[in-house]
Symmetry: C2
Subunit: 371 residues, 2 copies
């Protein structure tokens, strides 16, 4: 058996769709706005190497990651493939990380006064230290708060030696076009920019791009949209689906009315039913909350998950599928054209992002399109 | 920086606790009952190699996995370390997998008539083919249903050439000591055993072991209990905690009353608050459902998650922790002595098993105790 046949499920990542999504997002921008790509968390679970290389070959020359390990991996990968790019490190300059950040040509995002002072101290001794300065405008997560901003504004020499290439902030509610917080954050961001006298700026994620040009500034940082996740709720998703996941049927059984299915016997068959057991479970990131709530597709027919999701198995009611159309070995669409990662997420009570980052290690992985 | 310092969180797996749990479960059994270990899904997310080797060195010589890839990896690993063991493959004999199963000395669990016929056909030509025969008694997931059992019972020659070493079934509600389904399944299992005239049998998972000797038969298959997950609900967990997870504080901020935290601005500070942002998120398997519901511990003080969980970040309200006790770099207990994987799971609306299998790839991993 080859690797794909041995696996219980096949995950396909469409790099052409990914590149098309990047191109679509870039097409929303003015020509001189930089369209970076967020590739943290192993490129949202889809594989840092193929994703970053395809984006680099599509003209993307700026990437954001969360952890220094991710930044170093990305730098090594790009160098190996003769690609140059700016790599921005969202989690900032931790104590002891300065020389590695510098050595690998990483641009840290400075989130606090302590990080500014740390990086400045290193920069004054070593030179050539860029940074992005992060101001919090309403996430209360990372970035200088108003108290720290006051101090920095009075003592700009705290950043001596640092070439601050962008001011940045992050939108809390960009996925909701009606949220008044979007404009509030933008206004506060503009006020901070004027106060600090630093012009170049970055505010928008994927959703922020779609909120319009006033949110674009000089650099945007889409993640979700590149991976096909719907950026704004309650709107039509203009992005292409990147992920396809198919699970293999191991066994089909006919059970009488009134039989129970799975752990805790939470599902009872309301009729004589045909059930298909598929070799995917929460151990593969197929969320347990999908028990009695999720769906798969066989051809164009929707089949419901019945009973709880097990670690390695899920059971679908396939009574409505003609017997000759399905056998052990038939693949069930778990994420695909009929049921997107966003659809699966909605039924699981979460968001598409978590579906992607949860995609399991046991799937056989296949990439469509060149790197 | 070393790997551990670069990571946003440290996962520690206590192999001594794991071995103690295995010994405890084994101590519940008669001397001649085999205590196998379930190590599917990368040993419940804790690492197949260290877990299987430590168990093998603790006297465990029977292992269960779900996928053929897992079985092959385990066989290679054990052989490399001069360990012999029976490896049981729960997902059975797929078409085309026969020779690999045989070559690697794997004992398949036969879940259907089709699998019996497939393995018999191979066995008659090649010899030396063992198997476990799986009868469904109430999971409706894998295993022969009553229709298939009738056919097999009338034509036992369907299994010609196969050495059936055990009959097995699986309990649906063993985690609930009061569930009447447990005895029903056991009675049905006994009836099937008598009918087929195959004596050696296996029914119990960890919870089944704790249901008492009538559920033990000749081989038990604990998983959860070995990893410290509470097997039976609403009882005291006599097992040792195996997993410890600590997340690093990146930044601490003071925010005024009425500020909002995180995506969607779902949390508003009811007082002037000190917030700590920790470098862990749902991209690490820290479930998004823990937003505004989960807890961490700093020392002995409980700190609540406030706002939504982001992909790479969570925010705790640390107002109750004295300022001098916490700085960026301080580690917050996310799973540990004050807050077990089961506690975290309950707050996330799931079970400890899913917490373990979801443990992320970005954590630095450290093992306590020898292999």
């Amino acid at each position: 058996m080859d690797d794909a046949n041995r696996a219980g499920a096949h995950l396909t990542v469409d790099l052409n769709a990914l590149a098309a999504n990047y191109a679509f997002l870039k097409s929303q921008l003015a020509d001189d706005t930089v369209c970076a790509a967020v590739v943290k968390a192993d490129a949202y679970g889809l594989g840092l190497e193929p994703v970053a290389l395809r984006l680099a070959h599509s003209g993307c020359n700026s990437f954001f990651v969360a952890l220094i390990d991710e930044a170093i991996s990305l730098r090594s990968l790009l160098t190996e493939h003769n690609q140059k790019a700016d790599i921005f490190l969202l989690n900032g300059v931790e104590n002891g990380s300065e020389s590695e950040i510098h050595q690998f040509g990483i641009t840290p995002v400075l989130n606090s006064l302590a990080e500014i002072e740390r990086w400045s101290s290193y920069a004054k001794q070593n030179g050539g230290c860029k940074a992005v300065l992060h101001l919090d405008t309403g996430m209360s997560r990372l970035g200088l708060d108003s108290r720290e901003l006051n101090i920095f504004s009075d003592k700009p020499e705290l950043a001596d030696g640092i070439d601050i290439t962008y001011l940045m902030s992050h939108l809390a509610c960009a996925d909701d076009r009606t949220a008044t917080k979007n404009k509030k954050q933008r206004d506060l961001f503009n006020q901070y920019r004027n106060r600090l006298g630093i012009k170049k700026a970055s505010l928008a994620n994927s959703a922020g791009i779609l909120l319009g040009a006033k949110y674009h500034y000089d650099l945007v940082r889409p993640g979700a949209g590149i991976y096909g996740i719907q950026p704004i709720i309650n709107e039509i998703n203009s992005l292409s689906q990147v992920v396809n996941l198919k699970g293999k049927i191991l066994q089909i059984r006919t059970v009488d009315t009134g039989e129970t299915v799975g752990y805790g016997a939470t599902y009872q068959t309301p009729r004589t039913s045909r059930l298909a057991t598929v070799a995917v479970g929460y151990g593969d990131g197929y969320f347990r909350t999908l028990g009695n709530r999720g769906f798969g597709y066989i051809g164009k027919t929707r089949v419901p998950v019945v009973g709880r999701v097990s670690m390695d198995l899920i059971t679908f009611d396939i009574t409505d599928i003609p017997e000759h159309e399905v056998t052990p070995g038939t693949m069930v669409e778990l994420i695909g054209p009929h049921y997107s990662a966003d659809n699966l997420a909605a039924d699981a009570g979460t968001i598409g992002y978590e579906v992607l980052t949860g995609l399991g290690a046991r799937y056989s992985r296949n990439y469509i399109g060149s790197l």
